[in-house]
């Protein structure tokens, strides 16, 4: 792909690492951010009038289960870290290489290599060769690695290679065949359930091993008060642990599974209201580092089933930005932190030179009207399936233009 022509976006509000969005302009040249702030377009630049919209970094979606470009572009996502839970699993360098190319030319795909062969949690996969092929981090997939010896070897090895290990913190012995969090709702519905502590148990073990090995650990979804307390304490001790969450767990409690709504079936399952409040507090105080979509589009063959037989997951890419902007409007976080959670922090985990508005970084840029209202409609999603628990919900915030590496892909 040829280098896109230079351009300047002006009359916008720049979303910077700190502080409120600031009036200014941003110049892109050679696919990278050349300058920003109180600047003028260079001669010959194409000039884009932002008309007061936010000029923000493109979103870096850390942990999606599918590559679904229309949904990503709708949601302002320029980079997707693809989970290794593909068919077959991304546990081989050739598959990683193929996946890494699969977004071209208008989406960066960063495959997360499978930590173990076939994601079985037993034998380590060829991490170094997968890194060569484009895997920027490794992930345990949808499941936890139960064997502590394997987990220690994994973290030591990945640590040596400088790769973050992304873990799914849910103790399989406790969670078993559960599809809901133990509590009143699961009891009333008669659904197999596991105590919320399944997450804290797994997080505690993983954190202990991270501490022992000195390697970097990212818990992809931390959704309970007790596990968040463990992460908070570990960070205070200097353990290299980070935590993520998806909007479902800060927007919804397990009340949403009433009437057996399979669109609200998640992994880990939705929690009680007190846990949802704990997630909000952890977003506010910095315990949580990443908000990701967990994008997992599922058609009726996976979702129009009895609750226990349905697949977990939601199509989240389109609503990721708008639901995170809810947190800004509610005063939980400010705009700078919203984009740290959506772009800068996940970019840092992957080690890519993107995710914020800084001169020299890749020009992945989104123009966003943060107040524009729209209504989520599961029948008319850009995603390949409309499995969202936020159907019919009014939200605010739309991407009006998107650039990837300086090339315009939306708007």
């Amino acid at each position: 792909m040829s280098t896109p022509a230079p351009f300047t976006i002006r009359n916008g509000l720049l979303v910077l690492a700190e502080g409120a969005p600031r009036k200014g302009a941003l110049r892109v040249s050679g696919g990278r951010i050349a300058a920003l702030g109180n600047i003028q377009p260079d001669e010959g630049d194409t000039v884009v009038d932002a008309k007061g919209a936010l000029i923000a970094p493109g979103l870096v979606d850390f942990g999606t289960f599918a590559i679904d470009k229309p949904a990503f572009h709708f949601g302002g996502i320029t980079r997707a870290a693809l989970m290794p839970d593909q068919s077959p699993a991304l546990d081989h360098p050739a598959r990683v290489r193929f996946a890494a190319q699969s977004g071209k030319p208008d989406l960066w795909v960063h495959p997360l290599g499978a930590a173990t062969r076939a994601l079985e949690g037993k034998e380590l996969a060829e991490l170094a060769l997968m890194r060569e092929a484009g895997a920027l981090a490794v992930a345990t997939g949808r499941h936890w690695i139960a064997d502590s010896g394997t987990m220690l070897r994994l973290l030591r090895y990945a640590g040596m290679l400088g790769m973050v290990v992304v873990s799914h913190a849910e103790d399989g012995g406790l969670s078993g065949n559960a599809v809901a969090t133990a509590g009143e709702m699961a009891t009333r519905l008669g659904l197999p359930s596991a105590p919320a502590e399944a997450e804290a148990l797994a997080a505690a073990r993983d954190i202990a091993i991270a501490e022992l090995s000195g390697a970097r650990l990212h818990l992809r979804q931390v959704t309970t008060a007790s596990a968040l307390a463990l992460v908070r304490a570990a960070k205070a001790r200097g353990v290299a642990v980070t935590a993520g969450v998806t909007p479902a767990h800060f927007m919804l409690s397990d009340l949403a599974i009433g009437d057996f709504r399979t669109f609200a079936r998640m992994s880990p399952p939705l929690r009680c209201e007190a846990d949802r409040q704990a997630v909000l507090a952890a977003l506010a105080d910095g315990t949580i580092d990443v908000i990701a979509s967990g994008h997992d589009p599922r058609g009726p063959e996976d979702k129009r089933l009895p609750f226990v037989d349905a697949e977990p997951g939601m199509a989240g890419a389109e609503t990721l930005l708008a639901l995170t902007l809810n947190l800004v409007r509610d005063g939980v976080i400010d705009m700078a932190r919203a984009f740290a959670l959506l772009a800068a922090n996940p970019a840092r985990l992957l080690g890519v030179d993107a995710g914020s508005l800084e001169a020299g970084l890749q020009a992945d840029i989104a123009l966003i009207d943060p107040d524009r209202p729209w209504i989520v409609n599961s029948d008319k999603m850009a995603a390949s399936a409309g499995n969202t628990p936020f159907d019919r919900q009014p939200v605010q915030g739309r991407v009006t233009a998107l650039w990837k590496g300086g090339a315009r892909i939306v708007g």
Binding site: A182, G183, P300, P306, V308
Partner: protein
């Protein structure tokens, strides 16, 4: 006033005053669970069932009000007694009843539940009775068909006709349910019968105690307005009704109790243990029983106090009442035209 309505009025003068007239007495298209029913709606179904208790004791057990209607019993999970009970209920009301034993049908060939539901709907059933191994499966089907659906047990969720027949049995034995102390003991975790009974009995004013070892006690059960116990003897103190549940081994993944023998030691209803309850306490069990595990034979068969066979009898009457009431709009019964 139609003949049917006037005869109903004369037979039970109190009947009409206790709940709203016509279809307002039971304004539900389906019977998916006890959750969502008002107590007067439950009582309406119980009152409706009384006439069928009487009919079922006659040599000529026939009423033709459902003549020409087709009822499909779609059982996606094995069942003998419930399916038979529904079949008899439908036939005694004159309906054409067909059984679909889906445990060995196209469901095994990969057809989705929704497709099966659409197929049943296309055959123009007038009511569908469904049992399924997954919680919520019956309401899923109910959303896809045009006729009333009766839940005959969905996973670990609800089994409403069982709770209704238990309530009818109790009301007949004790006169009233309000104020009774009912102890439900056994595998509460896996029991849809327990869930429906907790909802039904508390709605009708009973004091409900539930008893199980921790592994079989659902979390948050206090929210269902019942008092949880681990000690069976303590749970039995002052009980008017003891309802036993079997261990549902088929739903267990992993070991929930060390052994049936050990379960009996702590939670088996022996004659000795029954002595801890009130002297006139009655014994119930939804069946099938595991004699010698959760209930001893000399308790299950205790004359005058065991209501277990009475429960089976009431089951047919309750199911007749449900099929009658749920098809009234469709049959354009007086006051019930939708």
């Amino acid at each position: 006033m139609s003949k049917a309505l006037s005869s109903m009025t004369s037979a039970k003068p109190s009947h009409l005053s206790r709940y709203p007239a016509g279809s307002a007495a039971f304004p539900h298209r389906n019977l998916l669970g006890i959750a969502g029913l008002e107590s007067h709606e439950i009582e309406f179904l119980l009152d409706e069932a009384e006439q069928w208790v009487e009919l079922n004791r006659q040599p000529q057990k026939r009423d033709d009000r459902l003549a020409g209607l087709t009822i499909i019993n779609a059982f996606f999970e094995n069942s003998t007694r419930t399916r038979l009970s529904f079949e008899i209920a439908g036939k005694r009301l004159g309906a054409d009843v067909v059984n679909m034993n889906a445990a060995q049908s196209s469901v095994k060939k990969g057809e989705t539940l929704i497709d099966t539901a659409v197929t049943l709907n296309a055959m123009r059933a007038d009511a569908i009775v469904i049992r399924h191994a997954s919680s919520g499966a019956v309401s899923l089907i109910a959303g896809k068909v045009d006729c009333p659906v009766v839940n005959a047990g969905d996973g670990q969720h609800e089994h409403p006709t069982q709770a209704l027949l238990d309530a009818l049995t109790l009301r007949q034995a004790k006169g009233s349910i309000a104020g009774l102390r009912v102890t439900i003991c056994g595998d509460l975790l896996h029991s849809r019968v327990a869930r429906s009974n907790m909802l039904c009995l508390t709605a009708l004013g009973a004091e409900v105690r539930v008893c199980a070892p921790p592994a079989l006690m659902p979390e948050g059960i206090e929210a269902m307005k019942v008092a949880p116990f681990h000690d069976f003897d303590a749970a039995l103190a002052g009980a008017d009704v003891v309802m036993m549940l079997r261990l549902q081994q088929e739903r267990m993944e992993g070991q929930f109790v060390p052994s049936p023998r050990e379960f009996r030691h702590l939670y088996g209803l022996t004659l000795d243990r029954l002595g801890k309850a009130n002297s006139d306490a009655v014994v119930m069990h939804p069946g099938p029983m595991n004699r010698g595990i959760e209930i001893d034979s000399n308790v299950a068969d205790i004359a005058g106090r065991s209501l277990i066979t009475r429960q089976v009898e009431m089951g047919v009457a309750i199911r007749m009442a449900c099929l009658d009431v749920l098809t009234r709009c469709h049959r354009r019964a007086e006051g019930w035209s939708a």
